[in-house]
């Protein structure tokens, strides 16, 4: 424990230097782009509502997202979360004691740190007087963390909230079987040697078979990849389309990485290893190479492969959210407003990953915007097939009429505004942390590209979904 702490302290120095370099970048770039802003008349000038507090994102950071089993493999989730928190502290220089509350999202919980938000906050040097809790909502856990923070601020309970998320897929809790657990618990309670011996005599070798966590729905026992493959088939999305989309994601991510656009990434000195500075899952390939892969879930004829799915990822993200007046009083120049948001849910069997289709029109209606008002779309890419199925669903009158209770289709988001800096397919998808990445990507893109409204949407296990409007903070 102490060794980890000392490492962490050493890290503070290195990270701060990196953080500085990165944080300077966006400012220098933005001036170039301001020359050619996309002038467009918006349905609404702003989403500011009378008598409701404006909530702003001061800034947000994330650790590099790594393929699980690589540099982060010896860490624990709270280590990663702590790295994101310390990164945020450096980036924003927010005084620790100002923070009213900390919320983190996570999906697969490390049992030792079930409230990972609290463990990470303590280690990151936040005041021990700042409460913290952990939320879980599958792939939209970080979104839930953010919107919980939004709720706390909007209702006047807090002014400053740190929201984030973490996932460490390199290590997952593998349990003893129920029978073995029961035996061990009973042994604990046994009083006499005789009782113990009689319990031990009940032991069978099959008790040792472990229970593995699976990325499968509890209600349907279907793995998500399998469901995605069926979804793609239901919408007649071809293998080629999926590979092309995945290639696009990787190419755009590569470009964004090379151009230094992924400014939310903060370097992380991994104890005992080199400093990690960038995401390592971006690997643009060729369609020919991708075509060679065998289907990963529905064998031998399915269309979802390792190359067109998001991969198991380790990573953490964190973001500083404040009431606008508080941020201004503290002298911050916020990046964006967090506006209307919505959660939706539908059939976890056949519509598991259609959350964005359902959430998008609802959040737009709620905000009083149209698809045309959105300058930056940031959708969570669980699978190419899932994104393309959502596209087809949004583009279908039949689907809108029969399943969404709408008269007409939702409409397609224009591809040139869609996930322009890569997405979960290429950058990676640490379940609990992706939400903050999406919001920061939308906010940073709006600043960089000069738009006003961003739309973030994601699907999640359990057949749930989320969407939120991000509005650029006026410069």
């Amino acid at each position: 424990m102490t060794t980890i702490l000392t490492y962490a302290f050493k890290n503070l120095h290195t990270t701060s230097k990196w953080a500085l370099r990165f944080s300077v970048r966006p400012l220098s770039c933005s001036s170039q782009l301001r020359a050619a802003p996309a002038v467009q008349t918006k349905t609404k000038k702003t989403l500011t509502k009378p008598n409701i507090r404006n909530i702003v994102v001061v800034d947000g950071v994330r650790t590099p997202f790594l393929l699980s089993g690589t540099s982060y493999k010896d860490l624990m989730p709270h280590d990663l979360a702590r790295a994101a928190l310390t990164g945020l502290l450096h980036r924003t220089s927010v005084p620790k004691e100002v923070t009213d509350y900390i919320i983190f999202g996570t999906v697969i919980q490390e049992v030792k740190t079930s409230n990972v938000a609290r463990e990470a906050a303590l280690g990151a040097g936040f005041s021990d007087k700042t409460p913290a809790h952990t939320v879980t909502m599958a792939c939209i856990s970080a979104n839930q963390a953010m919107t919980t923070g939004v709720g706390l601020i909007a209702s006047g309970q807090c002014d400053v909230v740190v929201a984030g998320g973490v996932e460490l897929m390199s290590d997952v809790p593998i349990r003893h079987s129920r029978k073995m657990r029961k035996l061990m618990l009973d042994l604990n309670k046994a009083k006499s040697v005789g009782q113990r011996l009689s319990l031990i005599s009940k032991f069978r070798l099959n008790f040792l078979a472990p229970e593995l966590p699976a990325v499968a729905e509890f209600s349907t026992s279907e793995t998500m990849g399998h469901s995605a493959d069926r979804l793609a088939a239901a919408f007649a999305v071809s293998r080629l389309e999926q590979d092309e989309y995945a290639l696009r994601s990787h190419s755009l991510a590569k470009k964004a990485q090379d151009e230094g656009l992924l400014s939310d990434v903060v370097p992380f000195k991994v104890p005992g290893k080199d400093t990690v500075t960038k995401d390592n899952g971006i690997r643009p390939s060729s369609l020919e190479q991708m075509a060679k892969l065998k289907p990963a879930f529905i064998r031998p004829y399915g269309t979802v492969t390792a190359a067109n799915s998001s991969f198991l990822t380790d990573g953490a993200s964190a973001m500083l959210i404040m009431a606008e007046e508080k941020a201004l009083a503290m002298g911050y120049k916020p990046k964006a407003y967090l506006r209307d948001f919505i959660y939706v849910s539908q059939d976890p069997k056949d519509q598991l990953l259609l959350g964005p289709t359902y959430a998008t029109p609802k959040v737009l209606e709620k905000a009083g915007l149209t698809m045309n008002d959105i300058d930056a779309f940031e959708f969570h890419e669980a699978f190419s097939g899932q994104i393309l199925a959502n596209f087809k669903a949004m583009d279908s009158d039949w689907f809108a009429q029969n399943y969404m209770g709408r008269k007409t289709k939702v409409g397609l988001p224009p591809l040139e505004k869609f996930n322009n800096w890569g997405g979960s397919l290429s950058l990676g998808h640490p379940f609990g942390a992706t939400g903050c990445r999406l919001v920061m990507a939308a906010a940073n893109r709006l600043r960089k590209e000069g738009g006003q409204y961003g739309l973030v949407a994601a699907c999640a296990a359990g057949g749930q979904g989320h969407a939120m409007i991000v509005e650029a903070y006026p410069k």
């Binding site: 069926r230 007649a236 689907f399």
Partner: protein, 763 residues
């Protein structure tokens, strides 16, 4: 191993599940124009793959009829002749049905075994050609693929099936008293191994797609799709076709091998079966088991074994020949006529002759959480009915809730449900002790103790809280519904729904209408019963209705036979060897001695001497000693938890000795004892028809077989009269009448049938 797999042929009849052929087979009268346009089968070509679509006109299901057969031959010939086509996909255009089996009417229309044999041989030839096709044919199976449909599919080079609940494969021929007559007996053993093939053909069970894949019956599975740009079912079939096309192409290009990798166990079994000695042992074991189960009453299973054996031992030519000949012979047997009759009856009893009710029942309330009440709840909640289970005490309620849960949980153990589905189904059940929520009930079924005053009290209480449209149904086995309805404010809404125990296993529901019951009330009750998956007969009100009334005289005779000194074990073996699934003495124990006593007293009062025979004192004494049958652990037999073999209850000896009467030797041969039981049953059944309690003989047969275990091989009391001969039956009755008197007097309708040999219940 093999033997235990072949278990339960007889047991299957109680769960006689023929899912297919809801509708009747529509004949195609346009034979002359068949050359121009085909009506059953058509095909299109996509690239170099022919898509053959099966779609029998004007029917919900596809059946292998003569027309379909000849069109299939035509289509295949064109495909084989075409240079453009390299492979083919065989698929049905009907949702939920690939091919449900051969056209039963086609077989029924045949007059001689030779005609049937000829049909079989034609099919054999076609399928053999298909099997040897050089252009690969892929069967794309969605929905039921049974009997001849399965035989067609296994003749193709490759099979792909949808993995859903509707898609089942099987050879149910044995349940109709015939055998798979289109090469199935020859191909299946090669495809899935001899033991598994025997299991399929001897039990007729339906095999779900995932299991079929494990067995090697299908090569690939396709998961059903959810909503997309089209309705899910439509897109799923389209997807199945797309997948099948890729496999057809792969097979034609030799990129995919139709051969399957066999598991170690399979390889070992296959190896073992190459040893003649092992084979002989397997045949012997299976045959023994079948003989034990069928008591030699069903010829089909033995013939199936024989045909399979011939094919393996003497080569396929001999096998095919034997198959077609035995098929012809079996189709002409009484047993097969009886079983096919039951099949038709069952189709009939799965329809609501009262039409759709004005209001769908969505909220159901059940009073009494006993065995029956909880059983009714169990078959309701899993069909999505919101069900209230009300009992008077918390312990009673808890027991009932546990029964429902256990029923669902057993399905989870058998993997028919997931634990999640179980939980969400179970949440349809509300257990309570008061009448809360009854104001929303669309139907109340009471299953309280069989006591008229209690039922009256309950009816009044319920009527105070239910809405106007709510139907009040009484689950009683003997109390006349009109007497129950006498205290009702709205007798038109009162009806009888007589379930059989155990409710989740017994398929029959007897619905009893009084003079005052409205048509819409009847429609509601039938609709609920159908939803619960029941086979339904609708009868008029009267003491004992139909089923209990037929059973009572037979039970009275059971008591007399026991009093005459016949051992309960002997009696059981006599009744089971006649074809009853449960022995007569065991049946009393299962029903409950107190219930039997109750019924005997009630009906004895109502019908007087005709229901006499045995001394009811026997039952009274048993009840007073606490010998209530299985539920109390003692009856004629002793029941112990975990002990399978039943021992006679020696404490019964005193009771039996005290009531002993001397047997009459002229009517006490084994056969006479059997017929004394059966003739009283049949005579009473015919009387029910005569008195208008029953509307049709078909309902009488279904009620007797599915509710009371009347031997299925006899097809029910009315079919039995037709096949056995009314005259012969009347002769027997008269013989027994001479010995015992009025109880055996043939009723008028039976006498009429005996007098004019042309009169039949089934024309």
């Amino acid at each position: 191993m093999v033997a235990c797999r072949a278990i339960g042929i007889l047991g299957r009849f109680s769960a006689f599940r023929i899912l297919r052929s809801r509708g009747y087979i529509c004949r195609n009268f346009t034979e002359s124009s068949a050359l121009l346009t085909r009506t059953h089968i058509n095909y299109g070509v996509k690239g170099d793959v022919a898509i053959i679509r099966i779609n029998s006109p004007n029917s919900k299901v596809n059946t292998l009829s003569k027309e379909l057969h000849s069109e299939f031959v035509e289509v295949m010939n064109e495909i084989w002749a075409s240079d453009q086509i390299r492979s083919a996909v065989l698929i049905s255009s009907k949702p939920g049905c690939f091919i449900a089996g051969a056209d039963i009417n086609m077989l029924a229309a045949c007059k001689t075994p030779q005609e049937v044999t000829q049909i079989s041989q034609e099919a054999q030839r076609t399928l053999e050609k298909l099997e040897k096709s050089t252009k690969p044919v892929v069967a794309a199976i969605s929905g039921s693929c049974l009997g001849g449909g399965l035989e067609l599919a296994v003749s193709c080079q490759y099979r792909i099936a949808i993995k859903d609940r509707k898609t089942v494969l099987g050879t149910p021929e044995v349940l109709l008293g015939i055998l798979p007559g289109a090469g199935g007996t020859q191909r299946l053993p090669k495809m899935v191994g001899v033991p598994a093939a025997f299991d399929m053909m001897l039990t007729g069970r339906n095999i779900r797609a995932d299991r079929a894949k494990k067995m090697g019956l299908v090569d690939q599975l396709v998961e059903p799709l959810g909503p997309g740009l089209k309705p899910p079912e439509e897109r799923t079939i389209e997807y199945l076709e797309e997948v099948a096309i890729t496999f057809a192409k792969g097979l034609a290009d030799k990129k995919i091998s139709p051969k399957r990798d066999k598991g170690l166990v399979e390889k070992l079994t296959a190896y073992a079966m190459t040893i003649p000695f092992v084979r002989q042992q397997v045949y012997k074991k299976v045959e023994e088991k079948v003989r034990k189960q069928t008591k030699g009453l069903y010829p089909a299973p033995l013939k199936i074994i024989d045909v399979v054996k011939t094919g393996i031992e003497q080569g396929s030519d001999a096998g095919y020949l034997s198959e077609s000949q035995k098929f012809g012979e079996l189709a002409m047997t009484k047993e097969s006529k009886a079983l096919m009759g039951l099949y038709h009856g069952q189709v009939l009893c799965k329809k609501n002759k009262f039409g759709a009710p004005q209001k769908d029942v969505k909220h159901l309330a059940i009073l009494g959480a006993g065995l029956m009440g909880a059983g009714i709840a169990q078959v309701s909640v899993d069909k999505g009915l919101k069900t209230i289970l009300k009992d008077a005490t918390l312990t009673g309620l808890g027991r009932g809730q546990q029964q429902v849960f256990k029923g669902l949980n057993d399905k989870v153990k058998k993997k028919a449900l997931t634990s999640f589905e179980r939980d969400s189904i179970f949440s349809n059940l509300t257990g309570q002790l008061d009448y809360q929520g009854f104001e929303k009930a669309d139907m109340v079924i009471e299953a309280v103790f069989e006591d008229l005053s209690l039922k009256h009290r309950v009816l009044k209480e319920v009527e105070a809280v239910i809405p106007d449209h709510c139907v009040f149904a009484s689950n009683t086995s003997a109390l006349p519904i009109s007497e129950i309805a006498a205290v009702s404010k709205r007798p038109e809404k009162v009806i009888g729904m007589h379930y059989f125990s155990p409710v989740d296993k017994m398929q029959l529901l007897e619905i009893i209408t009084t003079e005052k019951t409205s048509k819409d009330t009847s429609a509601s009750a039938v609709a609920v019963g159908l939803k619960q998956g029941k086979v339904i007969i609708v009868v008029k009100d009267g003491p004992g209705f139909y089923t209990t009334r037929c059973l009572a005289p037979m039970m009275s005779e059971v008591i007399r036979i026991l009093q005459e000194g016949v051992d309960p074990k002997k009696l059981d073996s006599l009744t089971t060897s006649f074809g009853f699934p449960v022995g007569a003495a065991t049946l009393v124990d299962e029903v409950g001695v107190d219930v039997a006593k109750h019924v005997a007293e009630d009906l004895g009062k109502a019908f007087g001497e005709r229901f006499g025979g045995g001394n009811p004192e026997l039952l009274t004494q048993m009840v007073s000693k606490g010998f209530l049958g299985r539920k109390s652990g003692k009856g004629f037999y002793i029941y112990q938890e975990g002990v399978k073999s039943k021992n006679l209850n020696s404490d019964m000896d005193n009771i039996l000795a005290s009531l002993k009467i001397p047997p009459k030797s002229e009517v006490s041969s084994d056969e006479d004892i059997q017929f004394r039981l059966v003739t009283r049953f049949v005579n009473e059944a015919v009387m029910c028809l005569q008195e208008g309690i029953l509307a049709t003989p078909a309902e009488g047969d279904i009620g007797a077989v599915f509710g009371l275990g009347f031997p299925p091989c006899l097809g029910g009391p009315f079919r039995f009269v037709d096949l056995y001969g009314a005259q012969k039956l009347v002769d027997r009755l008269k013989k027994y009448e001479a010995a015992y008197g009025k109880q055996f007097t043939p009723c008028q309708l039976l006498a009429d049938h005996a007098n004019s040999p042309n009169k039949k219940f089934y024309q």
